[in-house]
């Protein structure tokens, strides 16, 4: 591995930021997720054997870290929401995720549907590539994408 971490950072930072900022709407979440991605890159750099290009490798880390991040966040929100019933946390403590109108339709999707839609329709990745990155069959990607498009279109119709 000839590349240093700082070189990888300089070359891949825009790509990583582009993907995470399309995946999560809040600035703080984006920055947290972005930093988490590069920490993973740093930690796994010694295991990188160069079988794929650095860009592909970082892209794959970004996709999987983003998915885990959103799943974890949703779990935490569900817990906070459950605790708010018992007045452990007030409603004001709950972070409002979708503060931008543009993210409201995407907010209706589960983490995997959201990622599949972004990868397929915004990042223009092939279904085979997406299946490979997410480690799921192509059929699963297709059904997730179909369902995600349906939900988003329905939301767009509803909101005029």
């Amino acid at each position: 591995m000839d590349m240093s971490f700082s070189q990888i950072y300089d070359e891949q930072k825009s790509m990583v930021w582009g993907l995470v900022s399309r995946y999560v709407p809040l600035k703080q979440d984006r920055e947290d997720l972005y930093q988490e991605v590069f920490l993973k890159v740093f930690r796994s750099l010694k295991h990188f054997r160069g079988e794929a290009s650095v860009k592909t490798w970082v892209y794959r880390i970004t996709v999987n870290t983003s998915l885990s991040y959103l799943k974890k966040k949703k779990r935490n929100e569900a817990l906070m929401s459950a605790l708010s019933v018992f007045n452990v946390f007030s409603a004001d403590d709950k972070q409002i995720e979708l503060d931008e109108d543009v993210f409201k339709p995407l907010g209706k999707l589960n983490p995997r549907q959201r990622m599949v839609l972004i990868l397929a329709d915004i990042e223009d990745q092939s279904l085979d590539n997406i299946a490979d990155m997410l480690n799921v069959p192509v059929g699963t990607v297709k059904s997730n994408l179909h369902r995600a498009r349906e939900i988003v279109k329905k939301e767009l119709e509803k909101n005029g």
Partner: protein, 95 residues
């Protein structure tokens, strides 16, 4: 362009330009913590070796009760400069 296409373009336009240098500094600070934590097992191993060496030294070189390995000549009696007796004090308290 249909609504869905317009919507995708809106999503493409989100993000803006963040402060990459500041975020790099944060990442670097966390990687420094990683380095400190990764050296911790080495420090613990060194301390363990020192501890075991200390224990071995104690059990091998420090006498246990009833097993004297050291004695001290604490007094000598001489007659006209000829040594006639040495009083030897053993570790177990006997002469």
């Amino acid at each position: 362009m249909d609504k869905y296409g317009e919507y995708l373009n809106k999503i493409r336009g989100t993000g803006g330009q963040p402060d990459f240098d500041r975020m790099y500094e944060n990442i670097e600070a966390k990687t420094r913590q990683d380095k400190v934590f990764s050296s911790a097992p080495g420090i613990v191993a060194s301390l363990a070796v020192l501890f075991i060496a200390g224990l071995l030294y104690y059990f091998i070189f420090i006498p246990v009760s009833g097993d004297p390995v050291r004695s001290y000549v604490f007094e000598k009696d001489t007659v006209e400069n000829d040594l006639v007796a040495s009083y030897v004090f053993m570790d177990d308290g006997t002469f």
